[in-house]
Symmetry: C2
Subunit: 225 residues, 2 copies
């Protein structure tokens, strides 16, 4: 398994760059026109099938057949269902990611480092609420898979949490003996999609309750005053 430590530098830029962008800059030839067409067709078909039958129920074979392409072609574009989900999430994600990266715009600028950490939590939970159907398959087995996009997506989120935590500690708002590295993962755990779905659907907690809950945990590491 890859060790993600210290890869922050390479990962961050990827956040604001789509895989397509990267490919174009790395490769000599552009993608062939039929390949572009097929990619679009796959995404279109997948989107429709997911909407109709639910992500879980749709098989890769079904997608290939519906799109009238061979399985080889499908797998050339997306090596498993999660990658397809990730691609469908791209548009939505970008807005979210830019928001986080920009420091949450005006709202973020008006508050402290700790405030931005809270904003990060709220936005993450909102994002999960809106996209959990695609997020689960997109991230499952993230640590086991060796899929680059998935690792990047996961590591990016982790890094953002780490940065915000570090800032909050540096600004003196959090206890200085905090194990930031552990807390980063703990935060990722609390904001994990599996836990989210369990809490929302099996336990029935509301979005606001989840936000308040994470906040309550974070309040615990705040410098006592």
């Amino acid at each position: 398994m890859d060790n993600l430590k210290g890869r922050a530098g390479e990962i961050l830029p990827a956040l604001v760059t789509t895989p397509a962008d990267l490919k174009q800059s790395r490769q000599k030839r552009e993608e062939r026109s039929d390949a572009v067409q097929n990619r679009l067709k796959i995404l279109e078909v997948a989107k429709a099938l997911f909407a109709k039958n639910g992500v879980e129920k749709v098989t890769m074979t079904e997608i290939a057949e519906t799109a009238c392409i061979g399985k080889g072609t499908l797998y050339r574009h997306f090596s498993y269902k999660g990658e397809l989900c990730l691609a469908l999430l791209q548009e939505t994600s970008r807005a979210f990611q830019n928001d986080v990266l920009s420091g949450f715009g005006e709202e973020g600028r008006r508050t402290t480092a700790l405030g931005r950490l809270y904003l990060y939590v709220d936005r993450s939970i909102d994002f999960m609420e809106q996209n959990h159907a695609l997020l689960r398959p997109a991230l499952e087995n993230a640590s086991a898979q060796h899929n680059t996009d998935q690792l990047v997506a996961y590591a990016s989120m982790r890094l953002l949490g780490a940065v915000l935590l570090k800032e909050a500690v540096a600004s003196g708002e959090c206890r200085s003996d905090l194990d930031i590295e552990y807390m980063t993962d703990a935060l990722q755990g609390l904001l994990g999609i599996e836990l989210f779905i369990y809490q929302r659907q099996a336990i029935g907690l509301s979005v606001d309750r989840l936000k308040a809950g994470v906040r309550q945990v974070l309040e615990g590491i705040v410098t006592k005053s």
Copy 2:
């Protein structure tokens, strides 16, 4: 998806009772002798194969072939690999579960409710360290699956955390406005096997660091004195 709320009463007794015990008390006829033999053979073969090739690599088909039984027979006993892992975990689990249920013996009696919560964390992490290879397949997709044993195992752990948290709040050691229900899930999240494996293997945190980390989080909800 099942709502687990309020099922505490039925779940707790199951913890100290093996599936076999339950079957015996519920059914008229005892299990047929050839069935008992086959079950033992399957467990034996699975244990050996898991040890030799790693749980991930071993397939259900391979287990059936090695045990010289039909696939139907295998699936009659264990409907998927995780159930097999759960069965193999039974012995080890029981010691752990009894320990928790007994209130951590002498050590638990000498300390406070909060102390027992910390003990619970430590023991859980130790347990994961020893059994993660079987625990991951045993619990994966726990929320999605409708497997009874799995739900019981998961819900039992959740309940124990809830009880210990409640006691700690009742004894005045934790902030009284704590959202216990949320915190229960959060604790489950922090003690989740997926996060554990990620932190241990991908990030490389030590067992002691994990214990200390969870404790740091819990210290945050402790009544300030």
